[in-house]
Amino acid sequence: MNNKVVIVGTGCTKKPGKAHINKSFKELLVEASYEAIKDAKINPEDIEGASFSYGGEGEIGHGGIAPTLVDALGLSPIPAFINCANCASAHTAFLQGCDMIKSGKYKVVLVAGFDKCTDVIPFADYMLWSSDSMYDYNLGFSHIDSLLLATEYFKENKIPVEMQKKSLIKFAKLVRENAHSNPVATLYKKPVPNEDELEKMLFFGNVMSAGEGASAVILTSEENALNISNKPILVEGTGFVSSSHYIGHRYKPSLMRGVEDTVSGSMGNAIPLEIACKDAYKEAKISPKDIDTIQVYDQLVNGFIALEASGVCEKGKAPEFLISGKGDIGGECPINTDGGNIGRGHAGGAASLYQIIEITKQLQGRAEGRQIKDSSIYGLSTSVGGYYATAIAVILSNKLFR
């Protein structure tokens, strides 16, 4: 059966880079999900199954949180699956939602994610322990340390110090400018620091705003798409790689079956994401040059690593790509058009669905903030769980209604 999956509705809470202490995880989830239901113009009762993701709340005391979420949404008795993959959780839930549609058993599926990490104090560390736990966090290593070690990228690619600074400043400016125009973004209307100010900030302004929020999309089959929406977005291809949380394993890519011993892995590259992207391109029958917009997990230097792993720019060339303006809103392949984790904000369990929602709206010509060019067809969303313990790529297109 060659029936693809389409996105027919989207919804998300604003400012995912801030803590929303006045809202429970249930309230956040309902807000996002019912916005998506309204956007799709469907009846809530049309939803036949759900695929959820979360970060934070639900880890302890709820056990199996799926029925809690189904009940909160007033959707009982639908079957619901729950997915956790750190910051790639929502992409994992999305892929599961796609499989649910492709199975033929569900006509309409809700994919939704949330992050509520401030209610229970130890959960404020939730993102820090996106790791192996006993052999890293237990020894005082956190997920952020992995991202700090990723500066190996600069050494590996022999990027001169001046170029490191210039390109990081450029990236921070790019995403903050995008966020400035985006009402959903945490940095909406916040003055964009100039280059001198960015130079004085931690990592030249390349630090994400981690917070809370919820996001949702409604999926259906290609066959059913035009019954619901006049601008359905096609899921053209996906890739999904599980590697390992232990970052020592990044140096032994042959732990992934099919990867040769001769392939060199390190903290400065992202072989799991390269593989996921290649799988997505293969399914979509396109190549990196066809991608008109990309979403990458931007935190410290990871945006560069993910950009190269996607093939949109060559290895070692991300700094040049950015400085030449190719990632700008009017450039060859606009990056993080909503502001990314840095500007829009990052609500871990829901975050990667914000990326899919942004690409969807860009390809539909109804972006909340800055809009990419009308001739755009394909968008690529890449996500990372832990430090490439999970790597997922999703390619979307607007071919059905162009």
Partner: protein, 147 residues
């Protein structure tokens, strides 16, 4: 985040004295596993070989000697892991053990931080890590320069 806690103890959400005991071979003695079929060695320990899928794994104690690949100085209190804030700055490193696997570890007792460069030789030693939720000390390996 750990700055919210004046008492520097481990994050109670993942604290487990049983697990700490069960993994002490790995944490104190740098014990990993060796596959008895294909001789591949692994750290941390495993129950099945990812290469040949044999379940025949034996305990393998690494010498603790290795070469520094990369490091970063962690001196931002806000992102220090619960229980480790008092040790800032910390030199967080990836080290290639002589037997093959790359592991992570903290490098300590540097008379001069300038001595820390990729390629330098290191060896493990056992040190206090952080306090448990019940305030007793947890131990584990750290790295020192192998002079």
């Amino acid at each position: 985040m750990s700055t919210q806690y004046p008492e520097q103890i481990s994050n109670p959400a993942i604290e487990s004295s049983l697990r700490q005991w069960r993994e002490h071979g790995g944490l104190h003695r740098l014990e990993g596993t060796k596959c008895s079929e294909c001789n591949e060695v692994y750290y941390p320990r495993r129950s099945v070989c990812p290469k040949c899928h044999s379940l025949n794994m034996s305990v393998f104690r690494f010498s603790g000697k290795g070469t520094l690949l990369n490091f970063f100085t962690n001196n931002i209190p806000m992102i220090a892991v619960f229980g480790f804030r008092e040790h800032s700055p910390r030199f967080m490193s990836t080290v290639k053990l002589d037997e093959g696997p790359v592991i992570l570890g903290e490098v300590i007792e540097l008379s001069n931080p300038e001595l820390l460069k990729p390629g330098v030789r290191l060896k493990t030693t056992i040190r206090k890590q952080s306090r448990s939720a019940n305030t007793s000390w947890k131990y584990g390996y750290k790295f020192v320069l192998d002079k």
